[in-house]
């Protein structure tokens, strides 16, 4: 609860931020034309995060503001990451234990008896070995 005047951001700051945002948009569209494999998504998200940081800090004044507001918005990002991250701990590890088992038995037994379907969620019907 400070009584100082509210910060008025200089026009030049706004224009610099604006042109950086446009430039970054150009970069992300340009870079999308090349295939870097898994790095595509990382690069796109890095650029997007950088752009959003610029918006947050300057357009939304967080750079000059009470830091508690910054803490709140950062917390929201952390919880978003928790939500997506931990859900994927399940969805991406659905058949790990079955796979472990598959490797163990592979050495002892004919392979076709122990195939375990790994993608469960597509609606194509999965052939599986135990059917008669």
């Amino acid at each position: 609860m400070s009584n100082h005047e509210h910060h008025v951001t200089p026009l030049s700051t706004y224009l610099i931020v604006f042109s950086s945002l446009l430039a970054l948009t150009g970069i992300t569209v340009f870079s999308a034309q090349f295939d870097f494999g898994w790095f595509n998504i990382v690069l796109a998200l890095m650029i997007a995060s950088f752009k959003s940081s610029l918006v947050l800090l300057f357009f939304m004044h967080l750079y000059y503001d009470n830091k508690i507001n910054l803490a709140f918005i950062l917390a929201s990002v952390v919880f978003l990451a928790i939500f997506i991250g931990i859900t994927m701990v399940d969805t991406n590890f659905r058949s790990t234990l079955y796979d472990v088992r598959g490797k163990l038995v592979e050495e002892q037994a004919p392979k076709e008896n122990f195939q375990k379907s790994s993608s469960h969620h597509s609606d194509e019907h999965i052939e599986h070995s135990t059917d008669h």
């Binding site: 234990l97 079955y98 472990v100 088992r101 163990l104 038995v105 002892q108 037994a109 379907s117 469960h120 969620h121 609606d123 999965i126 599986h128 135990t130 059917d131 008669h132």
Partner: protein
């Protein structure tokens, strides 16, 4: 309440599988130390309540508001206990989920509201899972419609069955006898009637059963075959025989009548009508009943059982 009792105790059902004693030991380990803590909390509450009861005297109270030693102790001891419990529990959980090599496989189909067990020998057995004792059994389970869950309390086995994938679990029965199979994931109006039985037989009895199970006994009268099939395929969970309307229409007195339909004109209830209703139930729905409830029994039910059901329905008047 002994750790190695295999009979039913006050808290737990009898132990009838290899994993049961391990789970029970952990259950009782937690039981006793939580009971100790509950006793401690109760004792402290009442002892302090009695000892420091307000006697009406004026005056300030003590300013004690922390004690590092005490706080560390009562954090550390529960911490150690829960970590023991975690690793113990995780160990037996992994055992429950890693299916032993060479286990006998049975395919399980769950649907509203019945169980069906398909054997490798090429036949299926609704409602009853017959297995040999002392043999690891691997269940490959699938659901035809919504979530179900396969639960046998005496085996301490439970696994949710999720549509569009195969869910697996296993058990090894250590006792012969009959045990309940229950569905523990809510699946609609007759959820509580989606029961089944595991029948554990000795190896020789099992072999004998297996030989007979595959052969149709022509000597049983058709009506009896139908009466049995009515129960086996859980027809009773939706279609009553006393005229009360359930999820589906009652079977009482329908033979030879004209059944009203939304989609077509009224149809005569005859042999072909009943056959179609069993094998292709979604083709025409009787007026007043929702679409989509009845699963098909194509591939599950045998020809003689359909004939039996027809005879049986003729009988219900």
């Amino acid at each position: 309440m002994f750790l190695n009792a295999t009979e039913q105790t006050a808290w737990l059902p009898q132990q009838a599988s290899t994993i049961a004693s391990e789970v029970d030991a952990l259950f009782y380990f937690i039981y006793y130390w939580t009971l100790f803590f509950l006793g401690l909390v109760t004792f402290c509450t009442f002892y302090f309540g009695w000892k420091y009861k307000n006697n009406g005297k004026k005056g300030l109270t003590s300013s004690v508001d922390h004690s590092t030693l005490l706080e560390v102790t009562w954090t550390a001891i529960p911490f150690v206990l829960v970590m023991i419990v975690f690793f113990w529990g995780a160990g037996s959980y992994i055992k429950m989920n890693v299916i032993p090599y060479g286990a006998m496989e049975v395919n399980v189909t769950a649907q509203k509201w019945s169980w069906n067990f398909k054997y490798k020998e090429g036949f299926s057995n609704p409602r009853e899972l017959v297995v040999p004792v002392n043999t690891p059994i691997k269940l490959v389970m699938e659901s035809q419609d919504v979530l179900h869950s396969f639960y046998v309390p005496e085996f301490r086995v439970k696994m949710d069955i999720i549509p569009n994938r195969y869910m697996m679990t296993w058990f090894e029965a250590t006792k012969t006898g009959e045990f309940d199979i229950m569905c523990t994931e809510y699946c609609g109006s007759s959820h509580s009637e989606m029961l089944g039985k595991v029948i554990v037989k000795s190896q020789s009895d099992y072999n004998e059963w297996l030989e007979k199970a595959n052969v149709i006994d022509e000597s049983i009268p058709l009506v009896e075959v139908g009466r049995t099939a009515y129960k086996r395929y859980a027809c009773n969970t939706c279609h009553s025989i006393d005229g009360t309307s359930g999820t589906g229409p009652s079977l009482k007195g329908i033979w030879g009548t004209m059944a009203e339909h939304e989609s077509t004109a009224a149809l005569l209830v005859d042999e072909n009508y009943i056959r179609e209703s069993i094998l292709n139930p979604q083709k025409d729905i009787v007026k007043g009943y929702p679409y989509g409830n009845m699963p098909t029994f194509k591939g599950l039910i045998r020809g003689r059982e359909i004939e039996g059901l027809i005879e049986y329905i003729k009988e219900i008047k």
